[in-house]
């Protein structure tokens, strides 16, 4: 069986597994998994840039928040229904990715990281500055009544779970497919050796720019979905901590693997959820996880699995 067929089966298996879990899990874990899938979609978006193209951004919260506020403001003040508002959310994030991409990609390495950090900080402050509409750090609630799509109530746990699954699986399949076609291969080439890729005749800037656009749009979609499915839009989601979370999930799960982001998001969520029972020092645990990861398991969980047992893993 060719590697691409095997990886397609893997992805179908993951999605089918998640679908089955929807009906077997307890309410609590079902609710958690719905949230985790939205956050894993955010991590998938982040992985496109960090895992596959090798660009470390410390500002992805701005794309997540752009998607969230795009949807939130469209529904709250534009009176839009969820589906068009969701499109507005993704569009907002895409436009922001274009602007940031064109500017930030003129820099390399550490400078790129600092530029993304600074852009994200300005987006956070801008959200605070226009507090009259965005309600700043307090944020605002999207009323339960407005969160209906095609007659289905998104606040119903089952429907919310399936919506999150739809979002997650489309992001997973899109990125998995992308990484099989030439465009994805070239992204990996850019990560491995940008200079050599340039001299093989590939327009490196255009590829990196598209990677930022795709990464930003998927992150924005996750932000919009979070606002819609969980009913809250706030500036907290544009703060530095929400730029560090996806880095943590992708690193933990396995950068440059397709299902790494999901594994990382699940692992981190339950690590914090479990440990917050007996200590409120769970951020200490997250910090330790980051240090140990980068010291001993830079490839992350799925990265190690790929290295040791399944080299074909996408």
């Amino acid at each position: 069986m060719s590697p691409s067929a095997r990886s397609f089966l893997l992805h179908l298996g993951v999605i089918a597994g998640l679908f089955v879990l929807c009906f077997t899990l307890s309410d609590y874990h079902q609710g958690n998994l719905a949230r985790i899938m939205v956050l894993a979609t955010y991590a998938i978006g982040y992985n496109v840039l960090f895992g596959y193209t090798g660009l470390l951004s410390l500002g992805h919260a701005m794309f997540f928040a752009a998607g969230m506020y795009g949807l939130g403001l469209a529904m709250q003040y534009g009176g839009m229904s969820p589906v068009p508002a969701f499109a507005v959310g993704i569009l907002t994030a895409a436009v922001l990715s274009v602007v940031v991409g064109v500017l930030a990609l003129r820099t390399i390495g550490v400078a790129f990281m600092i530029v993304t950090l600074m852009f994200a900080q300005s987006v956070f402050l801008i959200i605070l500055y226009f507090g009259t509409w965005t309600r700043g750090d307090e944020g605002f609630v999207i009323p339960q009544a407005a969160r209906q799509v095609l007659g289905m109530d998104l606040t119903d746990p089952l429907i919310r779970y399936l919506a999150a699954l739809l979002l997650f699986s489309s992001a997973l399949l899109i990125t998995a497919r992308m990484m099989q076609v030439r465009f994805g291969r070239v992204l990996i080439a850019v990560r491995e050796n940008e200079e050599r890729t340039q001299m093989l005749g590939y327009d490196v800037f255009r590829h990196k720019f598209l990677a930022v656009l795709i990464s930003g749009s998927i992150s924005g979609a996750a932000g919009a979905a979070y606002g819609l499915l969980f009913g809250y839009v706030g500036a907290t989601f544009a703060s530095v901590q929400y730029s560090i979370f996806p880095l943590l999930w992708v690193l933990l799960g396995g950068a440059g693997t397709t299902i790494g982001p999901l594994v990382g998001a699940v692992f981190m969520f339950y690590l914090i959820d479990y440990s917050s029972g007996f200590t409120n020092a769970y951020m200490l645990i997250a910090g330790l996880a980051l240090v140990l990861l980068v010291l001993f398991a830079r490839a992350g969980i799925m990265g190690e699995v790929r290295r040791r047992w399944a080299p074909w893993l996408p």
Partner: protein, 232 residues
Amino acid sequence: MMLLETKLLTKIYGGLTAVEAVDFSLRQGLVHALIGPNGAGKSTFVGMVSGRTPATSGEVWFDGQNISAWPAHKRMRLGMAYTFQITAIYARLSLFENIALAQGMRDQDAALDALGRVGLDERLDQLAGDLSYGHQRLLEFAMGVAQSPRLLILDEPTQGLSESEIAGFNTLIRSLAGETTILLIEHNMDVVMSLADEVTVLQQGRVLSSGTPETVSADPLVQDAYLGRETC
């Protein structure tokens, strides 16, 4: 017909003039060697031809088109291939991936064929980084050839190769003769003498002399500056 021409190509780094007003022309199908002491501006010149290094002034013409303003990747698309002085391959990717990226298509047979030409038809899924230094240089050479370029630029390809590997390299270059034009930066005089149809000598960024290997090596200027006086 001239495949490649440069007119008054110049590169100034701050105060230092690395390459000064070089006029250069390369006939289709020939092997042209570029020699000169270290720091003569060879790599800088080739960098400007390939688009890696932005030229301060002067023009680069390829196949009758003025490509002075073109970015490096567009020049490559036009039919150039470039191998680096310091080996630049995808160490953490397999041999197949390296060749596939060069060929722009994922065809096992074409890859095996390209690798075969340099005697590297080991397992396709072996990591490029695991190859010996010499084999890595051959891989880079194979990636260049795999692009079936009209102009192949080689920056000191035989550096660090063993005698037998150099002999293999020579036969390879001869096998490409006629089909691909080759611009070769080389220090190994035996390789230059045996391969080059034409030679250009650079010194302090200026063309010292140009012509067939024989005329150039007989040229007193070159001997003073570079080859050292014939003592019988």
